[in-house]
Symmetry: C2
Subunit: 448 residues, 2 copies
């Protein structure tokens, strides 16, 4: 191939004449030499471009980057630069945002079990929206707001009975999950009522989130229509017309060939049209829309660079041979394969090869047979220890969910900006490598 | 109940007259107040007793504690005290052992992709055994040994074609996994040959590991018999009689009522008898046996203490109601429920209640619908925010696989020794809580 398929890899990824993969002009062999492996290599321009595309597509609404996908202060600064808001789901994520001087009024605070101290911090810094998720929380937030004389803007998290994934969605009345207030049971209306009754919470909108890795808007249509019925009921029953509707995240990306995520512009017009239709049917003004992409911005930006340690042919029943290729990371830096059976694309990165392809499974170095990075891959049969492999689209939920299993330190994230007219831009570490000293720092018995 | 069932909970766990759970006499409410929640509470006496029971049961052989289950310097010291060896699977685990002054000659070094620097460290400190896992590694280890004039004792990791779990095992010829050298394909014999040919590696035994959470020895019977055929072939073909056989780990524990793990003494005599029979059939002397329990020692020792944040009744289709109980931890401190669909036992810990039971799902605080701690539990219907819950048997693969997802810091591990005649012994922190400062320490943009 002349270069990795553009839909799976970040825009700045290419192959140079030597056959090595490059990221915004930097040879991955140089990146590996400079920063070590495993290494997350993030194409900063790709991240910013996707963030900007969302902002432009939803120019009449708000786009909040979902921090849970991947966050550090550099990312928070890019998100602020590109004009997006930030969706945080914990006090820790809020702390990172604040450390980056992210404007608090552009932060949406989520979570099914925010602690009193997390809520207090959110009130103290003045986050833009708090999405309430239970009656317990409404009471807790009201108490804290009264006591400290605040009036936070609040959204109600709905469960609309829609669960979406890829090209399918399931619509039910009742939804068996921890988040939100059920529309069908009437809990959502009662929650809105409870918020209004507090007097100290400023109810400004509804929030719905229907799934992940979604490729079309059919599930959003049902969800938005159900959410709009709640808006209509609130107008009818309480005379309150809420100005905001947040449709959450979940937009998918391409991990492997054949994945065909929808175009952001088309998604935006489609969502807008869906909400306009639903509001017209109810005689409601169209609320300000918000969306919360995480994976769709961070996911494609990043590849993980590994060094091959061993190549082992394993005979299977029936005479087939699978080549187990062990790399120097694994389920500690990417748990998604083990956790969700997720598929990834992997290529030989440090050189090109025209050798025949062999049936391969790329596995990690952890002491666990389920430690799989890429379950099925075709890689050249001259693959050998020392070769570099690149796994695509690891920008979301890899570093953020990383563990230190087997006391393997978590890899650094290196951001590579796009070249300018002045030439290549230096890569910079935005999350540094976790060292043995870091790993031992929580153990009071070290050096005893 | 008068107390938690002894087979699921650590021996030192009881209920006191006030109705609160205690661990070696310490009220969990006091532990929560002193150390915060979530909190791993480890019954040190229970851990040591299980380690000691293994050592006594396998007095004629070796017991290596599998560090991957849970390791810190305190644990390494207890393991050394109790006379066990240590099985490590990475340079990081080896570093913890060395920081605890664990005797290197009692360390077994595992892993399917040990790096050159990990192997060099193992050689430099003189670990007792290195379990080689691929031809690439045999070459690498031989090079390093020659260059530094060492002669490490080596085991060959076999894949014997047996996969065991609970009361079942599957036996095939070929095994589709990353570890070891296949017995059936002849790779195991070739590997032994390769090790012998190096001249610088001292081949002393074979290693087999067949699964996890195993409740009987039927799978071990097939595995040991196949391993002994390799010993016989080595004697016949090469005139080499290896003195050691390591049957690995995998012995199960009770997570929920009905789980019935085998008694350690019975397992030991059964394994011994199996190997004696297999060796007698081949006219071989009985090798020195080793086993590597991790979960079976660490698992039952620990409970996780959570504080309830919200209780939310959710109507299901069909009119049933499930109560979602959100706690202040989740998939970051216990990924096993999400990763393996693992079952756990949970009880109200800070008080007793004779209220009716309600159908409950205990969930975490992470921004993910799969963030489940205990999928199905019956808890009293007067449960409320502020209540403490205890989840049993979280000593293995919980803290060791913990992540910082959503920037939630990992909980501390507090060890509680058994009372002595002098009275209660003070609990002590063996892994401290991860703070916000720890979480931000890897971000070079903090404070910029």
């Amino acid at each position: 191939m002349s270069g990795p398929p553009p839909s799976i890899w970040a825009a700045g990824v290419a192959r140079d004449r030597s056959g090595a993969l490059t990221v915004n002009g930097h040879d991955v062999r140089d990146l590996a030499a400079q920063f070590g492996t495993p290494l997350y290599v993030l194409d900063e321009a790709d991240f910013r471009a996707r963030a900007g595309a969302f902002r432009r597509a939803f120019a009449e609404g708000d786009v909040h980057y979902a921090a849970k996908a991947f966050l550090c202060t550099a990312v928070a600064r890019w998100v602020a630069d590109e004009g997006l808001g930030l969706d945080v789901a914990s006090g820790g994520e809020l702390a990172v945002a604040l450390a980056a001087d992210f404007p608090p009024e552009r932060i949406v605070f989520h979570g099914n079990n925010k602690s009193a101290s997390e809520l207090q911090l959110a009130l103290d810094v003045g986050v833009g929206r708090i999405v309430v998720d239970s009656f317990d929380e409404i009471g807790r937030l009201a108490d804290l707001s009264t006591r400290t004389n605040r009036r936070p803007r609040v959204h109600i998290r709905l469960t609309v009975g829609v669960e979406a994934h890829t090209h399918e969605f399931i619509a039910t009345a009742h939804e068996d999950q921890k988040f939100g207030f059920s529309v069908a049971s009437g809990a959502a209306l009662r929650a809105a009522q409870a918020v209004l009754d507090t007097g100290c919470l400023h109810l400004v909108g509804l929030h719905s989130h229907i799934g992940s890795q979604i490729f079309d808007t059919s599930g959003f249509e049902v969800a938005a229509t159900r959410a709009v019925t709640v808006l209509a009921q609130l107008r009818d029953d309480r005379g309150v017309t809420l100005p905001e509707l947040n449709l959450g995240g979940g937009l998918g990306i391409a991990y492997v060939p054949g994945d065909d995520p929808a175009d952001v512009g088309e998604v935006a017009s489609s969502l807008r049209a869906i909400v306009e239709r639903a509001c017209a049917a109810q005689g409601l003004p169209v609320p300000r829309l918000a969306v919360e992409p995480g994976r769709a911005i961070a996911g494609p930006s990043t590849l993980t660079l590994y060094e091959v340690g061993t190549v082992k042919p394993v005979e299977l029943d029936g005479g087939l041979v699978r080549h187990y290729v062990s790399v120097d990371g694994g389920m500690s830096d990417n748990v998604r394969s083990a956790l969700y059976g997720a598929d990834y694309t992997v290529v030989l990165a440090g050189r090109e090869s025209d050798a025949a392809l062999m049936q391969t499974r790329v596995v990690g170095k952890h002491c666990e047979s389920g430690d799989i990075v890429v379950r099925d891959a075709d890689l050249p049969d001259d693959l050998h220890p020392g070769d570099l492999l690149a796994v695509a689209a690891t920008g979301a939920y890899c570093r953020s969910m990383a563990s230190t299993y087997n006391f393997v330190g978590r890899p650094p994230v290196v951001a590579v900006p796009a070249p300018t007219v002045a030439g290549l831009q230096a890569p910079h570490v935005i999350v540094r490598r976790e060292t043995e000293a870091d790993l031992l720092a929580l153990d009071p018995g070290v050096g005893r």
